[in-house]
């Protein structure tokens, strides 16, 4: 099975009663979500007849899904870009420099993951626990480094949206996909050490 595409809610900003723009204060998004939740939350209709309950549940779900899209800057940017008719495919062309850098970073991560795992003499030994701790520390450091880079990349999105530079936004979002994928790999590796 292979991934083809995903779809998101039709009018995420409208459901939250927010203007369709990138530059939004997180506190304003949260307040809008809380206000709408008070009116639309499925629990309000818990003792209504089945048909109304079902309708209320799907309303609640649409509102929550909209919140997921709008509250996260990257999801919000991808959504706005798609609304402007620009989509990001799975096999987008990437600049060779970025590709090289990502490959190097991933190699570093792979090394960190494997360190001390070869020829473990006795499972559960103090040596092995020490190795696991060292691995976790190395991965944490790689992760923190990348997280800083990601924050900067997200921060840059606001300016690109101000200039309405769709091509640059797309390029930035492709970069962010690589960074996010890397962060996910770090987290999965840390989980494995736990």
């Amino acid at each position: 099975m292979e991934r083809a595409s995903s779809s998101s809610s039709p009018d995420a900003f409208g459901l939250l009663g927010l203007p369709e723009r990138f530059d939004l204060d997180p506190a304003v998004i949260e307040q809008a979500f809380f206000d709408k939740s008070k009116d639309l939350h499925a629990d309000r209709f818990a003792s209504a007849p089945a048909a109304e309950r079902v309708a209320a549940l799907s309303r609640s779900r649409a509102l929550n899904d909209a919140y997921q899209v709008v509250k996260k800057p990257v999801a919000r940017a991808e959504y706005l870009l798609a609304r402007a008719g620009v989509t990001i495919g799975d096999n987008e062309r990437v600049e060779p420099e970025l590709l090289m850098e990502v490959l190097e970073l991933r190699e570093e991560l792979a090394e960190a993951k494997g360190a001390g795992k070869v020829a473990v003499a006795s499972v559960g030994s103090a040596d092995e626990r020490g190795d696991a701790q060292r691995r976790a520390a190395t991965i944490e450091a790689l992760r923190a480094n990348m997280a800083g880079r990601r924050d900067a990349a997200v921060g840059a999105l606001a300016q690109l949206f101000e200039r309405a530079d769709l091509a640059a936004i797309k390029k930035q979002l492709i970069l962010l996909r690589y960074l996010d994928r890397y962060l996910e790999e770090c987290d999965a590796a840390l989980d494995a050490e736990d």
Partner: protein
């Protein structure tokens, strides 16, 4: 203050016909049932703690204090519910009973019979139900049952099955830390960001919530559904009595673990305790607990990371669960969060109290609050090569949904193997397997041409439903699965019948009473809605509705509850377009900025 969402002037009417509902904390060590009276939640029973212990005799089943200490009594089944043999490899040796089963579900052997954790949990729930019915003077019409926030889909499903088996109508499965936050929020009028540190007998949860104006939003949740005070008891027993050796009976192991628990509890108020020729100091307990506490600490740091918060941004840390009584645990929490934790509500009762409040809210009570909980672990499907594609990420607010389209990877592939998993790891085999199904009837095409749309829907209980549709030819095949680790629906039905055995008539009578009440309610509601919203009512819908109401009245006079249920469903179906029209109008009014209540007086009962 809390938002008032209820229609003014309706609370009295509601009070009069308020359904009898309860909140239940089904714990590893103890279980409780609570309800709301005079505006406040209260636990039921002089001693509200019912030990989660069941003893199976020749002709009788004992639950709680009566079962405690009897040879062969079954305890801590919450650790087994919704789990497979593989998950339990670590604790198996220390359990006082034998397990059998596969990687999907286990059964335990006790007192010469083989029984599933779902059935044992159902026996505990039946006792709580009876306790509540006795105290409240009538049948319980609904219950909110708490589960650890970190319970996966299989564990939640199994818990719900247990409740159904006990004859309880489950209004909601509620996360334990969220329930605790509700109890605290209402009691203290708290606002801001709170961490709930919930260490019970066998599970650990850490949730971060934002409390504001009657909204309780879970920002992130984490934990370990196999980590609790039990583990500390076992570690203590291992340290001072030695690991269970060959030839040592399971009873001896159980005795040593039970003693260890008393030693641990005694160390809450005392610095040292003599036990089996050793002097155990509180610092010994601290040393033995350290590896377990470190696991808690890791989960705490991770949940802060997920919530994108630093510990300094929190307004408080709430302690929940019997294990947080230990000073060893409190000291650790203080160290991790850098502040004095809150523990002014009874950590054993607080979860049940919060669940009772939510049950009251769902039954239309006076408290108005909105709970926004999250999915604790990501949900996804297995892709080519065993990699997981996540459709719903952890910390997504529920209810939620996600749709993704997949293509074939081989030419002329006519079936889609769909494997649904839950967890954060990269590969499917490292995640929890929830369900597998094959979507057949895909027309033979070259690779990448056939398109299958997979939809995940997570409801407010955190339970997942999956639908798959084949799109390429325009012919839609649709299949629906409900992951059911514990038991299939048929098994639950069969067990329901078996467990009631000779009490089948009782069950039928109770069902009849419940369905009749429901029929009266629906009839009154529909008549009211017809009268107040005549304008939205198409003539043919009105006619169909009137017919369905007449049928329901006839059915309600008979004594076949299934017929009444069918007539209720038929009425629901007949008036669905009308209900939808009213719903749409309510939403429109809401979007125009008008309050839903102004536009909808009389919509809610």
């Amino acid at each position: 203050m809390l938002m008032q969402i209820a229609e003014p002037g309706q609370s009295k009417v509601k009070e009069a016909c308020k359904p009898r509902v309860v909140g239940i904390d089904l714990g590893t060590t103890n279980s409780l049932v609570a309800h709301v009276e005079d505006g406040g939640p209260k636990c039921i029973g002089e001693d509200p703690l019912v030990p989660s212990v069941v003893w199976y005799g020749e002709a009788s089943v004992l639950v709680g204090r009566a079962a405690e200490g009897r040879p062969g009594a079954v305890a801590s089944v919450k650790r087994l519910i919704g789990r497979g043999m593989k998950d339990l490899a670590g604790v198996r040796a220390m359990l006082p009973y034998e397990l059998e089963g596969d990687d999907r579900a286990v059964k335990l052997r006790a007192a010469g019979r083989t029984i599933s954790p779902v059935e044992v949990s159902a026996d505990i729930l039946k006792t709580l139900k009876l306790r509540a019915e006795t105290a409240l003077g009538g049948p319980i019409e609904g219950a909110v049952i708490t589960v650890p926030a970190y319970f996966d889909d299989a564990q939640r499903q199994a818990t719900r099955d247990a409740a159904r088996l006990a004859g309880l109508e489950v209004m909601r499965l509620m996360a334990e830390p969220t329930a605790a936050a509700v109890a605290y929020g209402l009691d203290r009028g708290s606002k801001g960001l709170y961490a709930v540190f919930d260490l019970g007998g066998g599970t650990f949860d850490i949730s971060i919530l934002k409390l504001v104006d009657g909204v309780f939003e879970v920002k992130a949740t984490g934990g370990d559904s196999a980590l609790g005070g039990d583990d500390l008891d076992r570690a203590l027993a291992k340290e001072y009595v030695g690991p269970p050796a060959d030839g040592v009976s399971r009873l001896d192991v159980a005795t040593a673990v039970a003693e260890a628990r008393r030693v641990k509890e005694a160390l809450t108020d005392r610095e040292r305790v003599d036990w089996r020729g050793h002097t155990v100091a509180r610092d010994d307990l601290r040393r033995i607990a350290q590896p377990l506490l470190d696991r808690c600490g890791r989960a705490c740091r991770r949940v802060l990371k997920d919530a994108e918060l630093a510990r300094e941004q929190l307004d408080g840390v709430i302690l929940v669960g019997g294990s947080t009584r230990s000073p060893v645990v409190r000291d650790y929490v203080r160290e991790v969060f850098g502040r004095e934790p809150l523990c002014d509500l009874d950590p054993d009762q607080v979860v049940a109290l919060g669940a009772a409040v939510q049950a009251d809210v769902l039954a239309g009570g006076d408290h108005k609050l909105v709970l926004l909980d999250v999915v604790p672990l990501s949900l996804g499907v297995e892709m080519m090569g065993g990699v997981v594609e996540k459709l719903v990420h952890r910390q997504t607010t529920i209810p939620c949904g996600a749709t993704q389209t997949f293509t074939t990877y081989a030419d002329n592939q006519t079936g889609f193997d769909i494997h649904i998993v839950q967890g954060e790891r990269e590969t499917a085999d490292a995640c929890r397997s929830l369900a597998r199904f094959v979507l057949r009837g895909v027309p033979p095409m070259i690779a990448g041409m056939a398109r299958v749309e997979i939809t995940f829907l997570v409801d407010a209980d955190g339970l997942l439903r999956v639908t798959a549709k084949e799109l390429a030819t325009g012919v839609e095949t649709s299949i629906e699965v409900k992951p059911s680790y514990g038991l299939t629906d048929e098994e639950v039905e069969r067990m329901l019948v078996e467990s009631f055995d000779h009490a089948e008539d009782d069950l039928a009578r109770r069902n009849l009473a419940v369905e009749r009440v429901e029929a009266d309610r629906i009839l009154a509601a529909t008549r009211g809605a017809f009268a107040s919203d005549d304008g939205l009512l198409e003539p043919d819908i009105r006619a169909a509705g009137e017919r369905a109401m007449a049928d329901l009245e006839v059915a309600a006079r008979g004594d076949d509850y299934l017929k009444i249920r069918a007539a209720i469903e038929a009425l629901d179906l007949a008036t669905k377009p009308f209900a939808q029209a009213r719903m749409n109008r309510a939403i429109e009014a809401q979007l125009r900025g008008k309050s839903i209540d102004e536009a909808e007086a009389g919509m809610e009962r």
